[in-house]
């Protein structure tokens, strides 16, 4: 569904009014100006608001009193990374990286192998001390304030983390015991289909079962913020869907999620914000929509009576546009799709007595943007 035409309306209002947009050097800078458009419509856009949240997202200029209760003292920002540098020997894994994660959202850190995703996440988790720059997670320093931070975050490592001789339910129950108000373990086992693991020990579980156990361990302590390092790597499509559903439910319940992934579709399906990381830096950050609007060429589609005079339509359109009728009654216009072009098309339709149905704009996919930013050569 992610490649299907998207409705036009929400485009400019994906971010609520007043929400700071941290744009990368490419991709979304041009759209920052749109953020004050029609603020009263913002509550309609459910993608940035938590379910049942009637007001603007955290950080908005109005309606702070209407925010869901957050214990976090730095409401609005769950993770703030500034100028992070991390070196291993003479290899620089992270090189001046900035990252912002808004509380209550899902942020996908997307990047090729070796881009510095895991190093960044593990620095946020307190595993590594930055060589330079600052990291604040829930307002805390992950290394200096580790004792205060750890109960509040959930961590899913890329692999391992479980005694090879432990059973899935045994390990999950153990993690629950380390927390004051854990989730109902039986319900979580049921929810993630771990019941079938039975008495099998960890080393004999399938890769998918091991992944789901690690995910369960990350959420069982009812954290405010979870870090998921490649949560769906190696999963079959069903298990991937189940993981996505859980991430959506976490978000709906007000949990902030930071995940790393190679999968564009995963980022598009789940993320409010995407940070594309390459060579230890953030190449672009924004909503999937913002990032995808970065490309020059977009496509406008509509349906109407078959056999319209495309030559006449093309004359009305700006230079560089093209128009086609790939199927009878289905029209595709390619070019710089902006409000002006949309107005031109609809007024042309009005002049010709055509009711354009199902108008949609098809943007670049995140994959296009990703490849454009990170290049197409293979990575290590």
């Amino acid at each position: 569904m992610n490649h299907a035409p998207r409705p036009l309306l929400p485009e400019h209002r994906i971010r609520p009014p007043g929400e700071a947009v941290r744009a990368g050097h490419r991709g979304s800078a041009a759209h920052v100006a749109a953020r004050h458009d029609e603020p009263e419509i913002a509550p309609l856009i459910t993608r940035t608001g938590r379910s049942g949240d009637p007001g603007p997202a955290p950080g908005g200029p109005r309606g702070l009193s209407r925010l869901p209760v957050m214990r976090n003292e730095s409401v609005g920002s769950a993770v703030q990374v500034r100028g992070l540098v991390k070196r291993y020997g003479n290899k620089t894994a992270v090189d001046g990286l900035d990252l912002d994660v808004r509380a209550g959202t899902v942020t996908a850190v997307l990047g090729p192998n070796g881009a510095g995703k895991t190093t960044t996440i593990e620095t946020c988790e307190g595993y590594r001390k930055p060589d330079d720059g600052t990291v604040r997670v829930l307002g805390l320093d992950p290394v200096a304030d580790a004792a205060a931070l750890r109960p509040r975050i959930g961590v899913m490592l890329q692999s391992g983390g479980v005694y090879s001789g432990a059973r899935a339910d045994e390990m999950l129950r153990h993690m629950a015991k380390l927390h004051a108000h854990p989730l109902d373990v039986d319900a979580l086992i049921e929810r993630l289909g771990l019941g079938s693991c039975g008495r099998t020990t960890y080393r004999r579980l399938s890769g998918g079962q091991q992944q789901r156990l690690a995910l369960a361990m990350a959420v069982v302590g009812r954290p405010e913020l979870v870090f998921l390092d490649e949560p769906t790597a190696g999963l079959d499509p069903q298990a991937r869907r189940a993981t996505w559903d859980l991430v959506r439910e976490l978000r709906a319940d007000g949990v902030t999620v930071v995940l790393t992934t190679h999968f564009m579709q995963e980022a598009e399906e789940l993320a409010d914000d995407v940070a594309i990381v390459d060579a230890g830096r953030v190449a672009a950050q924004g909503s999937p929509e913002q990032l995808c609007r970065g490309g020059a060429e977009n496509t406008l589609r509509f349906t109407g009576r078959a056999g319209l005079d495309l030559g006449s339509l093309l004359k009305a359109l700006p230079d560089g546009s093209s128009a086609a009728e790939p199927l009878p009654g289905t029209y595709r216009i390619t070019g710089t799709v902006d409000p002006q072009l949309l107005a031109t098309v609809t007024s042309w339709c009005a002049q010709h007595g055509v009711m354009p149905d199902g108008i949609s704009v098809e943007r670049h996919t995140l994959e296009d943007v990703f490849l454009e930013l990170t290049g197409k050569e293979l990575r290590s």
Binding site: P151, I153, M175, L178, A180, D253, V255
Partner: protein
């Protein structure tokens, strides 16, 4: 968009918090002990080998122990071996693989503090030792063992020995690769079994070798236990001091060089 259709149920609503540290340590100790008792190789090392050695060497006249009843010589040495097998070999191998498989790393991001994890590991070792000592004592008594001496002196020696072997085991687990730890810990177990006065009296070795072997922690522990349990001596300070020095060196080095991933 699909995210829009998800309705908050409150199931996952954040409610973070660490459990009381006592409860965490109890849970961690129980889990570590279960892992150890479930592991066949560990049981071979901690239960089966000491029991077999005790029975075999007590009933078959293989080594001249210089005592009327072989079991009176062997039982203290086998108790020392039990401590070595659990605190050193077993702990080194288990911890090495926990490090290798990211268990230590994952627990490092949990509310369980590192000191509490190490406390739980120590308690787990002590629980296992209590089970071993109960079993081996029962076997030895069945073989006609007649122990002497002050139980408190025995307890102190066992604790010092546990501290010394734990330090060395953790040092190995925290610095070497898991496979290297597995191999080295088993080799050391075997060498100390033979050369540490456990079943072969150190008096059988040449003087030069003997003076070196006496400085080993296993020699100090088996010699100290034998002095108390066989001869009814007061606390052997020399052996206790040797163990204390090993404990300080081993634990100090482990604290300094242990790598968590």
């Amino acid at each position: 968009m699909s995210t829009d259709s998800v309705v908050s149920t409150g199931t996952y609503a954040p409610k973070p918090g660490a459990a009381p540290v006592g409860r965490m340590i109890a849970a961690q100790t129980a889990l570590e002990t279960r892992m150890l008792l479930r592991n066949g190789e560990q049981l071979l090392l901690t239960v089966i080998i000491p029991s077999l050695l005790l029975v075999l060497f007590s009933t078959v006249d293989i080594i001249d122990t210089g005592t009327d009843k072989a079991v009176d010589f062997l039982a203290p040495g086998i108790l020392a071996l039990a401590v070595l097998s659990t605190a050193f070999t077993g702990q080194a191998i288990a911890t090495g693989f926990e490090r290798r498989y990211g268990v230590l790393k994952r627990l490092g991001a949990s509310p369980l503090p590192r000191w509490a994890l190490m406390t739980a590991k120590t308690l787990s070792v002590l629980v296992t030792e209590v089970l071993q000592i109960a079993l081996l004592t029962a076997i030895a008594l069945g073989l006609g063992w007649s122990p002497h001496g002050d139980p408190l002196s025995v307890l102190l020696l066992l604790v010092l020995g546990t501290a010394a072997f734990s330090g060395l085991g953790l040092l190995m687990a925290g610095t070497l690769k898991a496979e290297a730890t597995l191999a080295a810990a088993n080799l050391v177990f075997l060498l100390l079994l033979v050369g540490g006065g456990v079943i072969v009296p150190l008096a059988k070795f040449p003087d030069a070798a003997r003076s070196v072997l006496e400085l080993l922690p296993i020699s100090a522990l088996s010699d100290g236990l034998r002095a108390v349990l066989q001869d009814g001596a007061a606390l052997p300070w020399g052996d206790a001091l040797t163990l204390a020095v090993w404990a300080v060196l081993g634990l100090g080095a482990a604290a300094r060089f242990f790598r968590w991933e």
